[in-house]
Symmetry: C2
Subunit: 218 residues, 2 copies
DNA sequence: GTATAATGTTAGATGAATCTAACAAAAAAA
DNA sequence: TTTTTTTGTTAGATTCATCTAACATTATAC
């Protein structure tokens, strides 16, 4: 169907659009680690296949078709991550790179079976929603921990970075999905927060970390 | 490490060498569905990487290094097939194409985990041996059913073709690994055989089929 | 509102894996 | 042993995804 390269561009475009609406060539180039001229020519190719709307010097935009294709690849990625964690016993910090490869497998029965064995999960091990078979994806109402006020008590429902380093750091602090934390104070100067949870009555997390933790009011 | 294309050449060379010793460019070309000139140039590339011994107009031969690499890819393929059948509930006729894709995944932990969850299997769902981590592969002492004599009773221990069509045909005759069959007669003219097993007192199989069933004396 | 910086495009090259057409060698047949 | 067939190689083209260098446009800063 699509080449590996095309799939990677679609996925990156989808993520960037979700993160901050408009996407430009430079951003996409940086995200993929591919030089801008290469990105431009791939955009023309994807536009010829009606997967993106492309006009010179204008922001990039996935077409409906492109968005659906992208969501279906992300569906495969997230199902794979969930399978690796739930059925094979991997930690949430180990699964990204493996899923990155599994997501390109072309076999509807393979992913249908994974979905079935997992009991049709709605979220992956990092709390991100798994798009459905039609490419529809729903985010829960969420906030960043960094936007919470003092004395709020919230539940961590997702993490916005699936890199091995970040997740290992969370592991070392016993931070996981479902954890209930109380904001004891938020430092206006550097955005760091003092939190209290379980056996950690006084744990300070940097702004960079708090920004990547999505929470729900408890 | 290696490209997808290189891996496919190595695997095909390995299989052809196991099937009938010497391999030539024409055979490899047909096996892969790739034209001869392309095969020649890839042989030069693999030779430059010390994976095959190549000399113009001479038979092709894997080097020790090449044979090991190939065996490790086949190991991944067969572990994947076993996993798909044993842990995911696929039929033996459904797994070839999926495993063909999984075998190219680069992740030692992924295959180590599969191996562990399967209890370190020695054969795949079609009875073929799974090479060990060092690329060593052992075939059991076997014979083709087509070489058996009248009145012999044998156990089917492997099938030499993993195509969906062939395996569906075997399913329709209730033929599977471990089945004990008695040769009632062998037709010298066309090599077909009359067999008796379980609820099939008189089942005739063509030479083409009998040749692809490996058996062990019971 | 011009100068500078950032972003984006065009043109042309490269390497991988493929092809076809033409030629060469080896094997088989006559 | 000469001819024919099969097999293998060389040369050169094509497509894909990438690059660098040069140029163009848009946005930012002074």
């Amino acid at each position: 169907m699509h080449t590996l390269a095309e799939e990677n561009y679609l996925k990156a475009l989808f993520s960037l659009e979700n993160e901050h609406g408009e996407v430009n060539v430079n951003e996409l180039s940086k995200r993929l680690g591919i030089k801008m001229p290469t990105v431009t020519s791939m955009m023309k190719k994807l536009a010829a296949n009606k997967l993106v709307h492309y006009e010179s010097y204008k922001p990039l935009k996935l077409s409906e078709k492109g968005r659906k294709e992208a969501a279906l690849i992300i569906r495969k990625h997230r199902l794979a991550e969930m399978y690796l964690v739930e059925k094979m016993g991997f930690g949430w910090e180990q699964v990204h790179d493996i899923a990155e490869q599994i997501e390109h497998i072309q076999s509807a029965p393979f992913f249908a079976k994974m979905d079935e064995l997992l009991g049709y999960p709605k979220i992956d091990p990092h709390g991100s929603p798994i798009p459905d078979k039609h490419g529809k994806m729903m985010w829960r109402g969420y906030n960043k921990l960094s936007d919470c006020k003092e004395n709020e008590t919230v539940t961590i429902i997702a993490v916005l970075n699936t890199s091995d380093d970040f997740l290992k750091f969370l592991n070392s602090k016993q931070i996981r999905l479902g954890l209930v934390v109380k904001v004891k104070s938020a430092e206006p100067f550097d955005g760091s927060m003092l939190l209290s949870y379980e056996k950690h009555p006084k744990e300070t997390l940097s702004h960079l970390v708090c920004e990547r933790l999505l929470v729900e009011k408890t």
